[in-house]
């Protein structure tokens, strides 16, 4: 079987900041309680304009599963790696909790999980993908902001969306080559 190149495409125009994705992720991945512990988040962007002419956007984020991984580069024990399908991984047992990767990640996507004694972050819900299910955040999102799939398959929904719509990535100037794409 050929390898995948997993990616997520987000249409933030539909995001209502309901945070279903955040709670689903916490529950799915047993992320410890606490406001600092999360694998994904939704940013309430700064309010535009002045009363009564206002606008606001909400931007979900998580590990961008970069092709050029600053986190992996700084990991002294090779706990952080990238698997054959493009998913950036952390091997708990190898992680010594030095948190270099947390500093290196330009997206603040990593946190230290006290319960497992290792740095943790989004895995694209790899364990769910393996059984043919969508990532928890994708499945639960009410307005279907999030689409997940394989960019190596030109007919996948993610490929089709990217082919059809202009899009951007976060902090392109960092050269990380993220695989979370935001439709414009």
């Amino acid at each position: 079987m050929s390898n995948k190149r997993y990616a997520m495409v987000l249409d933030t125009r539909k995001c209502i900041d309901c945070k279903a994705c955040t709670v689903a992720c916490k529950a799915e991945n047993h992320v410890p309680l606490g406001r600092e512990n999360y694998r994904n988040w939704v940013m309430e962007e700064a309010l535009r304009g002045r009363y009564p002419n206002l606008g606001q956007e909400f931007t979900p984020g998580q590990c961008m599963h970069c092709a050029n991984t600053p986190c992996k580069r700084v990991c002294p024990t090779k706990a952080t790696g990238v698997n054959a399908d493009g998913i950036v991984t952390v091997e708990n047992k190898k992680c010594i909790g030095c948190k270099y990767c947390m500093t290196a990640c330009p997206y603040n996507a990593r946190y230290y999980n006290e319960e497992i004694g290792a740095v943790d972050k989004c895995t694209f819900c790899e364990h769910r993908i393996l059984t043919g299910r969508e990532p928890a955040c994708v499945e639960t999102c009410p307005t279907r902001v999030r689409v997940f799939g394989d960019l190596n398959d030109p007919n996948s929904e993610v490929s089709l969306l990217l082919a059809k719509h202009p899009h951007r990535v976060m902090k392109p100037e960092m050269g990380t080559k993220p695989y979370l794409f935001y439709l414009i």
């Binding site: 079987m1 050929s2 390898n3 995948k4 539909k14 209502i16 900041d17 309901c18 945070k19 279903a20 955040t22 709670v23 689903a24 916490k26 529950a27 799915e28 047993h30 410890p32 309680l33 606490g34 406001r35 309010l47 304009g49 002045r50 009363y51 009564p52 206002l54 606001q56 956007e57 909400f58 698997n83 054959a84 399908d85 998913i87 991984t89 091997e91 708990n92 047992k93 999980n113 319960e115 497992i116 943790d120 895995t123 790899e126 364990h127 993908i129 393996l130 043919g132 299910r133 969508e134 928890a136 499945e139 639960t140 999102c141 009410p142 307005t143 279907r144 799939g149 996948s156 929904e157």
Partner: protein
């Protein structure tokens, strides 16, 4: 619809197996908690090893979304949305639905029957663990004493929607012989039911998915989630859809709207009447529809003559040109257009008439029972559960709140009117309070009065899953099994596409919690043989009875978590049939209202002006909590740990107040302290706070001492027609704390 259904299927099957290796799965914190509890002997070790999927319905809010519980080794690991529930919930779970798993494993949940320690005062929170036997005996003893000393009507029964088991509780009230049931509608939507009911004979559902043009007055659908509306608003036909949103606040719905108008609170009716004015003066109405299906259009035309857009502009602070344009766009989009009535319609004391105006506006452009308009609810029939309340020879008076409002619902009652009469023992005293999952201390305006009401009780019993404020002030607290642990009866969910839902236990009830039917049966047994006889059935028998006419319903629910007969709406069912109004037609002019001394056409009344140095207090919901019931949930608490008071920067500067500082908010009935949030997102004449904080119950350990309670501040004005509370008629003063 069809398009979305296809998407559902492709979403389910879109992925093949991956070539990557299995990731290490973190040890579930739930398992840790359980193991620790089992070690202490506090619960049995998890049984039923192995994995299973259980189909059931969410109990975190009124929407009842379908989920699949992933259960492993007797522990609920995760609640996933049920794709089969697409028709209703669009196969999603919101933040609350996802947080449901913590309801079961929350250390703050009710675990055992509790009895207030003898000699302690209510509200001190001194409870001791009791056996079910003792607690139930105490409940029955007190109920019997009150009926002997006063009458059966002197025990009130307060309960809430959404549990699927509420009718067992109201049946208990009826069998016991009390007419005094108090349900949630007068704290929520009774003016909507009344206003739309008087016009259409029913409160219809807006076809959000297919409407091209939607106007909403404060129905904050991106935060006050209603399925499928909240989803369809964003997922429908994308660019074609236009959303006009009126709200004194910049909500998340404002952020998604095509046009947002910070309307002056309480003036929505002026906006609507002016729209009607434009439509009838420019002859944009659907005359053929009006002629065939309505009565009273000829009275409407002169009635709205004075309500010009120019007049409305000065009332509601929306430019006349915009009102004119919106009216024309609305009429042009009709019948695929809706003035969306929303659910919580407890804004002002004239709310019923305001909803009438909305209904009339929809009617004159023909937005009725047709694709993209207002659709009368369809329903799937279940076999009714019949019972015969025992006959008592004694004199039992009628409802305490009888005659307090024009249209009182016999089952629902009118909360604030009832409370006033109960406080005055007029015409008779109320001495016992049985509560099933309602939380009047958090939900009924003027908390101080509710506390007084509770003070005068000889006995209070609360059945709940959590130590609500009301439970905290009770004498006996009975722990119900949570929605993830219990079997609930089937419930037909009416709507554009009706479905049937139910709940089945994902795991057995933990600790000593019990299904509500069992609790009620045990109380019934202790009250009398006659009452017990009316509860002489098992849950299983009840379920089979409900589907006697069609066993497939239960079969589908057990295996798929939902039953439906069609995935497509059936438009136009009422065409050619008489509506449930007096005339059988849509009543623009209401003869019924005229006969009752009410305005037969909605007459605008200007809201009381905000006094100087005061602000109008607005309340509202958001997507993270349901009313006063879920703010203590650990996952949800992580998202929003407290509420704040919103104040416009211009006003903050005037008052010399800074963002983030603590402030005192004072109304005529109470004072609360909370953090100030200085934000552009609100009109300068109003302040806003979210519902669900400022709790009295110290057993809600995450949120006790955080934020302020809106119920403590809101005055108990109400709509004289429907009895619905008016939550936006309170003025407050803001002082540094």
């Amino acid at each position: 619809m069809a398009r979305l259904l296809e998407k559902k299927v492709s979403r389910r099957h879109f992925m093949g197996l991956s070539s990557c290796a299995l990731a290490t799965i973190a040890i579930g914190s739930q398992v840790k908690v359980l193991k620790a509890l089992a070690k202490d002997g506090r619960i049995d070790a998890p049984t039923g090893l192995g994995s299973k999927d259980v189909y059931s319905s969410c109990g975190m809010c009124v929407n009842k979304c379908g989920f699949i519980a992933r259960v492993k080794d007797g522990v609920i690991q995760k609640l996933d949305p049920n794709p089969e529930f697409f028709i209703r919930s669009r196969a999603m779970l919101c933040a609350r639905g996802n947080a449901g798993v913590k309801v079961v494993y929350d250390p703050d949940r009710l675990k055992y029957p509790l009895v207030r320690v003898e000699g302690s005062k209510r509200g001190e929170g001194k409870f001791r663990r009791a056996t079910w036997e003792e607690a139930l005996d105490l409940v029955a003893k007190n109920m019997n004493e009150i009926k002997d000393k006063y009458s059966r009507a002197s025990v009130m029964f307060a309960s809430t929607e959404g549990t699927f088991s509420e009718h067992f509780f109201t049946q208990l009230a009826e069998c016991y012989g009390s007419p005094n049931t108090l349900r949630h509608p007068t704290l929520c939507l009774s003016s909507n039911i009344q206003g739309f009911g008087a016009t259409f004979g029913t409160n219809p559902t807006p076809d959000v998915l297919n409407a091209d043009f939607i106007i909403m007055s404060g129905a904050n659908r991106s935060e006050a989630l209603m399925t499928p509306d909240s989803i369809d608003l964003l997922r429908g036909d994308g660019g074609k859809r236009k959303l006009i949103y009126l709200d004194p606040r910049f909500t998340k719905t404002s952020a998604k709207a095509d046009e947002w108008y910070p309307i002056k609170p309480g003036t929505d009716m002026a906006f609507i009447l002016a729209m009607i004015h434009v439509i009838v003066t420019e002859n944009l109405q659907d005359q053929a529809f009006i002629d065939e299906f309505t009565v009273g259009f000829e009275q409407l035309v002169p009635h709205v003559a004075p309500y010009t857009p120019e007049w409305a502009a000065t009332e509601c602070e929306i430019p006349a040109a915009d009102i004119r344009r919106i009216a024309k766009e609305f009429a042009a989009a009709a019948p695929r257009a809706v003035y969306y009535q929303g659910r919580r319609s407890s804004f002002m004391a004239n709310d019923t008439q305001m909803r009438r105006a909305m209904a009339i506006l929809n009617a004159i452009v023909g937005n009725w029972d047709t694709k993209g308009g207002l659709i009368p609810n369809a329903n799937i029939e279940l076999t009714k559960h019949d019972y015969l309340a025992p006959w008592y020879d004694e004199d039992i008076p009628g409802r305490l709140d009888e005659g307090s409002v024009t249209y009182l619902s016999e089952k629902d009652g009118a909360w604030p009117a009832f409370r006033d009469r109960a406080l005055a023992a007029d015409p008779y005293p109320i001495k016992g309070m049985m509560v099933y999952k309602q939380n009047p201390l958090a939900s009924v305006p003027n908390r101080a009065k509710t506390l007084k009401l509770m003070e005068q009780m000889d006995f209070i019993c609360t059945i709940d899953i959590t130590m609500s404020d009301t439970a905290w002030y009770s004498d006996v607290v009975l722990p119900e099994a949570t929605y993830l642990e219990r079997q609930d009866p089937l419930e037909a969910l009416g709507g554009i596409v009706p479905v049937v839902a139910f709940r089945q236990p994902c795991i057995p009830p933990m600790f000593e919690s019990k299904e509500s039917l069992w609790i009620i049966q045990e109380i019934a047994k202790r009250l009398s043989e006659e009452i017990a006889a009316e509860f002489d059935f098992t849950m299983e028998e009840h379920l089979h009875h409900q589907v006697k006419h069609n066993p497939q319903i239960l079969e589908d629910l057990r295996t798929k978590g939902i039953y439906y007969e069609s995935t497509e709406p059936n438009y136009g069912r009422t065409r050619g049939t008489a509506l449930k109004t007096k005339s059988g037609k849509i009543e623009i002019f209401s003869q019924k209202y005229a006969d009752n001394g009410l305005d037969p056409l909605p007459v605008y009344t200007r809201p009381t002006a905000v006094p100087s140095n005061r602000y109008r207090l607005l309340v509202g919901r958001h997507a993270y909590f349901t009313h006063g019931t879920t703010a203590n949930n650990p996952y949800l608490h992580d998202i929003m740990p407290e509420n704040t008071l919103w104040l416009n920067p211009v006003e903050a500067q005037k008052l010399g107040l800074k963002n983030g500082q603590m402030v005192k908010v004072r109304s005529a009935v109470g004072e609360e302290k909370l953090k100030l949030e200085v934000t552009q997102k609100i009109r300068p004449d109003s302040v806003y706070m979210a519902h669900g904080f400022g709790v009295l119950s110290k057993a809600q350990t995450n949120i006790y001492g955080k934020g302020g309670s809106d119920a403590a501040l809101i005055e108990e004005k109400y709509c004289p027609i429907s009895g619905n509370v008016a939550m936006h008629e309170t003025f407050v003063e803001i002082l540094p704390a």
